[in-house]
């Protein structure tokens, strides 16, 4: 096991850029590599992706292994697995980390069976134990507890990391590192899976709920899909976006892309307003790290109140219109007479 050295990060290229989750992971992987006193390598398969290697180095990679092949332009499971597996046997890394994007999980899942090692999914924290093992920490039981996963006897130790739990590392143009080109023998038979169509998500909603600083989230309590209009209006006033708990998605009220929770997205906005959401553990798992949580629910016993900073017990059809009215009134007032310091009503500084 002594032979295994170095921390690797799988760098997922998508549309000429690195996926956010890959970049976020570089920052965390850097920390782990430093703790282990080893270096950090990014693995970047793709086509014409060299500029991205530079990006990865500026974010913290010491080295990027570039495997370029026109057929690798878009991710498919078998060739990417082959690239990773070949490199793994060639270099014996100690740790490989993946961003838990759909493709990252697809790759990790296939790879771990192919090279017979463990894989911890959706980690939210990493650490190094006294014995030097990677401590892979992932939510369990709907986020109410954290499980520490260790992979003691197999190498590499592999894990995928959840989106948006690690901050974006600062890009340092002065950082240096090496870009190493390697080849992996790929045959046509490896490309038996074809991508025959791609339809980008039309609504901007998907992006918005990941990035939004304010989320107004609706649950079954809204009673009817058309009542989401109320949330839209409130979200627009607050410069945020609308999301949802699982039930409205199941009922087909809103697209799955808006779902927050264990089977949906994990979000960490500055302000999360839960409207008509009872607060099942699965939902809480996806939003409990929001900076401020507001709950509006008619049931004072709803679990959502237990993790809320502020709550209003009442009928959302009274509360929401009232919030909208007061926000508009406040805005109109502010415009009529700017506050004495003349500072624009300040958004919080960027995190």
């Amino acid at each position: 096991m002594e032979a295994h050295k170095g921390v690797w990060v799988f760098l997922e290229a998508r549309n000429g850029a690195l996926r956010d989750v890959s970049v976020q992971l570089i920052g965390e992987a850097r920390r782990i590599a430093d703790k282990r006193g080893t270096d950090l390598t990014g693995i970047l398969p793709g086509w014409k992706v060299e500029p991205l290697a530079r990006h990865a180095i500026e974010c913290g990679c010491d080295r990027v292994i570039l495997v370029e092949d026109a057929r690798l332009e878009f991710y498919t499971s078998r060739p990417y697995t082959k690239v990773l597996a070949t490199l793994r046997w060639r270099h014996n890394p100690e740790v490989i980390l993946f961003g838990a994007s759909k493709n990252g999980r697809d790759l990790g899942g296939r790879l771990h069976a192919a090279i017979d090692t463990g894989l911890a999914a959706d980690c939210v924290r990493f650490d190094v134990t006294e014995e030097g093992f990677l401590d892979m920490i992932r939510p369990a039981f709907g986020g109410k507890s954290l499980a520490h996963i260790h992979c003691e006897k197999h190498r590499p130790q592999m894990a995928s990391a959840r989106w948006n739990v690690f901050p974006m590392p600062r890009r340092d143009p002065a950082r240096s590192g090496e870009v190493v080109r390697e080849t992996v023998p790929l045959e046509d038979a490896d490309f038996d899976t074809k991508i025959v169509d791609f339809k980008p998500t039309e609504s901007r909603e998907t992006r918005k709920i990941d990035d939004a600083r304010v989320l107004v989230s609706g649950g079954f309590g809204l009673g009817d899909p058309k009542n989401f209009v109320l949330l839209d209006e409130l979200a627009t006033l607050l410069g945020g976006a609308v999301s949802s708990s699982r039930k409205p998605v199941d009922l087909g009220w809103v697209p799955k892309a808006l779902q927050v929770g264990q089977t949906g997205k994990t979000v960490r906005p500055d302000l999360y307003i839960a409207v008509g959401i009872s607060g099942a553990v699965q939902h809480l798992a996806g939003m409990q790290e929001s900076a401020k949580i507001v709950a509006v629910n008619s049931d004072p016993k709803a679990a959502i109140f237990e993790i809320a900073d502020y709550g209003i017990v009442g009928d959302l059809f009274q509360v929401l219109p009232e919030m909208i009215r007061q926000l508009k009134a406040f805005r109109a007032q502010a415009q009529a007479a700017p506050p004495p310091e003349a500072a624009p009503p300040g958004r919080r500084d960027g995190a």
């Binding site: 759909k102 197999h154 998500t201 500055d270 009442g314």
Partner: protein
């Protein structure tokens, strides 16, 4: 069942897991741990979507649906439900040595079961389980078998002997096409699983459709499975320390409550 030379429909293996019903899971307010005792079980919801996908494919193309699961004999309940929903037969791999398996031996065991069933054209799994949420087993089976995989599919069809799956990924819907045999994992909620039928339940009662296999039946050594065969261990479990919340509840009438709330949020500088 088929005359020689005649093209039969695809044989579809659906891998399912029995999980505690998510809605029934509650956290004990005192111990802050999950109450698991006495919680009713169900077929892992994404696996239900996978089964429904298989049933719809069989309606269209004929063929046969074989359901596979790994777990204690209490999982028979879910396998019988799958048959009552329309699956043709089911196999449960149940063995004390399998206890504590992580995704590596689980995928290996299911792979061996798929191979033992034989002539499987399509392996369907749910995208992930609601209790473990790894999503690794489906790709793991594909990795062990060395066959193509299409994960996170919201729609699956068979076109000219190839599998076509619409993958819902972060920035859009990709349509992948792969030759069979192939592993496909199905998105949670992409269809509405049907209810068990009366004729299906009668078939369950007539019996003989659920078969149990041991690890040895699949040629698995004790060292390959269970805790011994699992690369990962759960070293410990912490209770989450959530950021402490003020927990201020405004119970005044709406106008006042809203005004107090907005004041508080402005003070916290989260709204202008």
């Amino acid at each position: 069942m088929t005359a020689p030379g005649e093209k039969r429909g695809p044989r579809i293996a659906v891998c399912i897991k029995q999980v505690p019903k998510a809605q029934e899971l509650q956290v004990d307010p005192v111990t802050k741990t999950l109450k698991r005792v006495g919680v009713p079980s169900e077929i892992n919801p994404p696996d239900q979507n996978a089964l429904e996908t298989a049933l719809a494919l069989r309606e269209k193309h004929g063929g046969e649906i074989v359901v596979l699961s790994m777990g204690p004999t209490s999982f028979d309940e879910s396998l019988e439900r799958a048959i009552a929903m329309g699956a043709d037969r089911a196999y449960l791999i149940s063995d004390r040595n399998l206890g504590g398996s992580d995704t590596v031996p689980t995928a290996l065991t299911l792979t061996r079961a798929v191979e033992k069933v034989g002539d499987v054209d399509l392996v369907l799994c749910g995208e992930e389980t609601t209790d473990a949420s790894t999503g690794h087993v489906g790709p793991g089976i594909a990795g062990h078998m060395g066959i193509p995989q299409i994960t996170y599919c919201s729609a699956v069809s068979l076109v000219d002997g190839r599998v076509r799956g619409v993958r819902m990924i972060e920035d859009g819907a990709e349509t992948w096409e792969a030759p069979m045999p192939c592993v496909v994992t199905v998105d949670f909620g992409c269809n509405k699983p049907r209810q068990p039928t009366l004729t299906g339940k009668i078939r369950v009662k007539r019996g003989g459709l659920v078969t149990h296999w041991s690890a040895a039946d699949l040629g698995l050594e004790p060292s390959q499975i269970g805790l011994k065969g699992s690369p990962t261990i759960v070293a410990k479990v912490d209770t989450v320390q959530l950021p402490s919340r003020q927990g201020k509840i405004f119970e005044e009438e709406p106008t006042i409550a809203v005004s107090l709330l907005l004041d508080a949020l402005r003070k916290d500088k989260v709204i202008p």
